[in-house]
Amino acid sequence: MSQVQTLDISPVGRVEGDLDVRVDIEDGVVTNAWTSAELFRGFEIILRDKDPQAGLVVTPRACGICGASHLTCAAWALDTAWGTEVPRNAIIARNLGQLAESLQSLPRHHYGLFMIDMCNKNYKNSPFYEEAVKRWAPFTGTNYEHGVTISGRPVEIYAMLGGQWPHSSFMVPGGVMCSPTLTDVTRSWGILEHFRTNWIESMWLGCSLERYEEIQTYDDFMAWLDEKPEHANSDLGMMWRMGCDIGLDKYGKGLDKFVSWGYLPHEEKYNKPTIGNRNQSIQMPSGVFDGATGTHKLMDQAKTREDVTHAWYDEGGGAKHPFDRTTQPISNNEHDFEKNYSWSTATVHEENGHLEAGPLARELIYGGDHMEDFQYKDGLVLDMYKKMGGANVLLRHFARMHEVKYIYRQIERCLRELRLDEPFYIKPKEQDGQGWGATEAIRGALCHWIEVEGGKIKNYQIIAPTTWNVGPRSAEEERGPIEEALIGTPIADPSDPVEVGHVARSYDSCLVCTVHAHDAKTGEELSRFKTS
């Protein structure tokens, strides 16, 4: 009879913010897991009673790597609350900002946060180990250095629109603050092409983007790997082959249920934005994919629930829509893994329970048939998922990097579609109202709800992708996505549990975005908001 060894890993670094993980290990395999969000700042409390546009300044500071994504949500939330008209150029400029940030994050997360773990001494017997260290060792690896440094180039496009990255507030209700000129567009083209030539094609793919776009199925991908040494030896090829060699394709499955809000509103379909018409207006479709039944459906924000059973709050009455919560924090935030152990709530779908957010979710959803004709489709990752027997660490990260394909093409589209002699802003009328803004940050489904009353913010709620992913168990004792994904993870050396790191970092967790607001001193009830 084997012993259960309990390992507390505090902190798990190379996620944004503070994540603690507890795992039970039996016979070298994780049999139970708890994830704990360890920092509280209280942004929604700070926003209460402030200027209606305060969220445009504050919410990007929820997260240094996803600031543009928060800004996108904050702007659309105000647009829907104020019933604005948003000109086509502004929609394109907002999309371009979101895309530039997403493109930056791909090499930055890949080399800076994720691939370092392939250099762990646990893998020194892998035939790929020597090359891995040469390429991906932190700070000194050849490809690490190149990838992290070039990751700064896409956000130069963001800086031309918003003045700087991180943290601009250039997206405002009614449009954008900027009015880019011809040289801004041509310079953006130059940056994009430089990034393509000097990273996407040369280092990442080892082939042209056009060749990569021909890959439609798992079998196509396997054929691509074998087709030329340049493919097998590219960073993508190496990552895949080494990942299989060290077993990243064997664990990290998770709950097998996924969510995406969809994003990138079409510039001619969301000019009079509302909460209700968003699903039909976005180019990348929203969805819920249930792996067990293999079915897709659209995602509806009204179905979002927050469950505080296992979090550091004391609120009765079960899971609620974020705007219906009366937030009552527990002052004593000691870990009690039977009861309350995290600042993150369990964010769930009313019908489906916990859902996984992120690039894997998006890509599986793009493989569906539940969307509008004009919306994006791509069946590759769904096919790989089926052929591999479901999700795993390697596929999750592959899906993330696969997005380079459409992110790149979408940026090209934005640069072509801007009409420089047309308006970028239509001054809105400030008014009371309720709004909702959403996007897909690189890490996954992100949204803000706002209520403006009497010329100030009455209520502001943020659900970040990592809130979906790092949430504790729900009332039904269903584990959160990352907790579930840790089950079955092999731990070769408990004193260096790198495998836990692989799983957590394959989710590209962002803890700083995750934690919510509570009025610590008075436990005062936040205002109520009923979604209709």
Partner: protein, 320 residues
């Protein structure tokens, strides 16, 4: 060779993300060319769990020499001064911060949260956040006004939300190459080499400021953002229009008003209703005037400006 330990408190990691945009030197150059040994950094460090704790305890005990301690994010004191709402390696981060500041030769507060308390410290400051040596404009903060590090300097404040990568890489290079003595700090302990001049210094809209031609709405291709859209450029100490952001830009160049983020009060007016992206005026005169300019002077200046204004100043200038 300099040992650097970098931790995050009540942070968003924006300063780390900004730092990773650095070029000449890049973050990697600092390690490979300037002999910076980054002991641990939350977004980049290799180790996890107890291995991280060992690095910290070795710095505290002196077994590892700690040349530079960089802190990003606020010091979280909630609940009730215990700091338990920001735990790290099993204990309140603020306890690590106290010990590491005592152990380090140089202490660098990076970004507004670490320098002034920043956005988390905005009213009602639910996390009981402080900067390392200031809370907003008030000297003191977490360490107290009298604190000096082992090398005899107070906390070196590199403010900004976030800080520009050059502001931090060049200070690290200065310390690592023995030029810490050249670091002249202003009254807010900011390196003067960056923070003596104003956001307005080098702004592309200076001529429109001079002739009092206002950008009246967003999305226009002319005008100064100070008069109507709440720009704090004339009152804010920063090099944002001298050392460009992301090599190409600045907020005011792109038509976004300066928010004054390098100053201790950021975000200004606690974002009270009516203050965001709007210049607050009394009888047409802005409540916050350019630094050093009084109301009488402002009225004379703008009167003369309007009288002298050339016709071209009202035309689009940042054209396609």
């Amino acid at each position: 060779m300099a040992n650097i330990l970098w931790l995050q408190g009540g942070a968003c990691s924006g300063n780390t993300m900004s730092f990773l945009n650095a070029e000449e030197p890049s973050a990697c150059d600092l390690v490979t060319d300037f002999g910076m040994n980054i002991l641990w950094q939350p977004s980049l460090g290799v180790e996890l769990g107890d291995d991280v704790k060992n690095i910290l305890t070795n710095c505290v005990s002196g077994e590892t020499k700690l040349d530079i301690f960089v802190f990003e994010g606020s010091v979280v004191n909630a609940p009730n001064g215990t700091g338990e709402w920001n735990r790290f390696c099993g204990r309140p981060m603020k306890e690590w911060v106290r010990e590491l500041c005592d152990a380090a030769d140089f202490v660098v507060a990076l970004g507004d949260c670490a320098t002034w308390g920043g956005i988390p410290a905005t009213a009602p400051n639910p996390s009981e956040s402080q900067g390392l040596q200031f809370l907003k404009r008030e000297n003191g903060g977490f360490l107290g006004g009298g604190f000096t590090s082992k090398a005899g300097l107070p906390v070196i404040n590199i403010p900004g939300c976030p800080a520009h990568p050059d502001w931090v890489t060049q200070i690290l290079v200065a310390i690592a190459t023995g030029r810490a003595g050249d670091l002249a700090l202003d009254e807010f302990q900011r390196p003067k080499t960056f923070f003596q001049s104003f956001t307005q210094t080098g702004c592309t809209r200076n001529m429109h400021f001079a002739y009092k031609v206002s950008t009246t709405e967003f999305g226009q291709r002319k005008g100064c953002l100070f008069y109507d859209l709440g720009c704090r450029g004339p009152m804010t100490h920063s090099p944002c229009n001298r050392i460009l952001w992301n090599r190409v830009s600045s907020k005011t160049r792109a038509g976004m008003p300066c928010l004054g983020c390098t100053e201790p009060e950021f975000p200004f007016f606690d974002l009270a209703p009516g203050t965001v992206f709007k210049t607050q005026t009394v009888m047409g005169v802005p409540k916050d005037l350019p630094t050093g300019v009084d109301k009488k002077g402002y009225i004379k200046l703008t009167g003369a400006a309007k009288a002298a204004m050339p016709a071209w100043a009202e035309q689009d200038i940042f054209v396609v």
